[in-house]
């Protein structure tokens, strides 16, 4: 078993910024300096594997993101064990930025992240408060600060997820109230590191210019995670997952048709990765229902009700556009 350091006991009183939050957190019992710990047991007790496994199972692809989350989980777990030996180090900064195209799973991962951090005891509640510019920035002078603070208070103990964060900053208007919201965030991200994790999300290029015009933000964010677009096979796997959850399935020809559909759809504008898959399947449900109702004078089996046929996809505009 690995025995972490444990040679000299640092009796540091270097205070956490928010003592109330820190002391309420379930800290592991104190260990004598010559004790050893079973990290595997700690790991089982924390229940992080459950989350990491569901993450693996329910999210297709995203290998770099998953690796980073595993690394982070390991760090946080070891950190907690170290605290048992009074080897205190400052809590690792957990603010993150998620960049990637629409529908690549940023919101989904953020939700899981909140749960994971909660299991690891980094945040007390584990809820996610998702906001955009409108929730933070006010309409008139003096409106922004209370609004932003309100949101921050609601998110405390959990994760504050700021979608399309670049809208907070409008380069063309230096009096824009967004700047005020950013300043409050900057302050709270530093002073309440123990009770709040902030995740910024948005499209990659615009996030980069947002961070370059707000260097203070970027330097407070320790983890920049990039969500890449899915390839065709991954999209098919995502479709399979979604169908399974909704108790539908493709007939064999329908699977080929759907593959064809996705190939065409990927080339078109406003393709939104997994979300486009979801939308396509929603529309297929609609067409399937109508197909079933339109055919009179026969009965349908359980399997008929679950199965998509090629015509449920062929009616799509995606195919129509190609032929004209």
């Amino acid at each position: 078993m690995p025995t972490p350091g444990g040679t000299d006991q640092e009796s540091t009183t270097q205070g956490p910024t928010d003592p109330a939050a820190r002391s309420r957190r379930a800290s592991p019992s104190r260990l004598p300096a010559d004790a050893t710990v079973d990290l595997a047991a700690e790991r089982r007790a924390s229940g992080i594997d459950e989350i990491l496994d569901t993450l693996d199972r329910e999210l297709v692809g995203l290998a770099p993101v998953k690796t980073r989350i595993r690394e982070l989980a390991a760090l946080l777990l070891v950190d907690r064990v170290r605290q048992g030996f009074q080897l205190s180090a400052s809590r690792p900064s957990l603010h993150m930025s998620f960049t990637g195209s629409p529908g690549t799973g940023k919101t989904t991962v953020a939700l899981r992240m909140a749960e994971l951090l909660h299991r690891l005891g980094c945040i007390d509640r584990g809820h996610l408060v998702a906001v955009t510019r409108d929730d933070l920035v006010g309409q008139y002078v003096g409106h922004t600060a209370p609004k932003t603070k309100e949101v921050i208070k609601r998110a405390m103990g959990g994760v504050l997820f700021i979608d399309e964060a670049y809208y907070l900053y409008r380069a063309e208007n230096e009096r824009d109230y967004g700047q005020e919201a950013i300043e409050i965030l900057l302050q709270v991200m530093e002073s309440h590191r123990d009770s709040l994790v902030v995740i910024f999300a948005g499209y990659k290029d615009r996030m980069e210019s947002f961070f370059s015009s707000n260097p203070g933000l970027s330097s407070r964010i320790a983890h920049h995670l990039d969500f890449s677009d899915y390839d065709l096979d991954e999209l098919m796997a995502i479709a399979a997952l979604m169908l399974e959850r909704e108790h539908y399935r493709f007939s064999e020809p329908a699977e080929r048709t759907f593959r064809d559909y996705l190939q065409r759809r990927m080339r078109q504008p406003r393709f939104a990765n997994a979300r486009s898959v979801r939308n396509a399947l929603e529309r297929a449900r609609l067409r399937q229902a109508n197909r079933l109702l339109a055919a009179t004078g026969r009965t349908w089996s359980r399997d008929d009700l679950m199965r998509f046929e090629p015509e449920d996809f062929l009616a799509s505009r995606v195919f129509a556009d190609e032929s004209t």
Binding site: R24, R125, H127
Partner: protein, 145 residues
């Protein structure tokens, strides 16, 4: 004279950790919390100033503790209390209300007697602090008395 008002009033002042735990208890019951302050310690003074609006939809005590600290910073010499309001239909009242900040020096009250008809006496309490104008009742060091 240390004034005692509200819940826990006969306990020693709560520490910040204890305040956070009480707030969390209130949040876990779904009560809305608010912060109020005043410099009039009279027990019948029900109308304290509101420090911002009541807070709804919080999950964690840190948000309330944050406002308490902001209020303490702005009014270090005032009384500050935290209220928890239970809005459930059968109750609809303040479920919990406790003092989280008080002036360092509390001069207390004098008993006043008012002569009434037939030599009857009426009694009332008068806080010494109220002799000074509102907003200036608890100077950092109280004058010699």
């Amino acid at each position: 004279m240390r004034i005692t008002q509200g819940t826990f009033s006969y306990l020693p002042d709560l520490t910040d950790d204890e305040i956070a735990m009480q707030v969390q208890y209130a949040l876990d019951h779904g009560w809305a919390l608010s912060v109020e302050f005043t410099d009039d310690p009279h027990p019948r003074n029900h109308y304290w100033h509101m420090w911002g609006l009541p807070m709804f939809d919080l999950h964690d005590a840190a948000g309330v503790v944050y406002e308490v600290n902001e209020c303490r910073q702005a009014y270090p010499l005032y009384y500050i209390r935290v209220n928890a309001y239970d809005a459930s239909p059968t109750r609809q009242t303040t479920a919990l209300s406790f003092i989280v900040n008080r002036p360092p020096d509390e001069p207390g009250f004098r008993l006043e007697r008012q002569e009434h008809v037939d030599r009857r006496l009426r009694y009332t309490l008068h806080p010494y602090a109220a002799d000074r104008p509102a907003g200036d009742r608890y100077p950092p060091t109280m004058p010699e008395r």
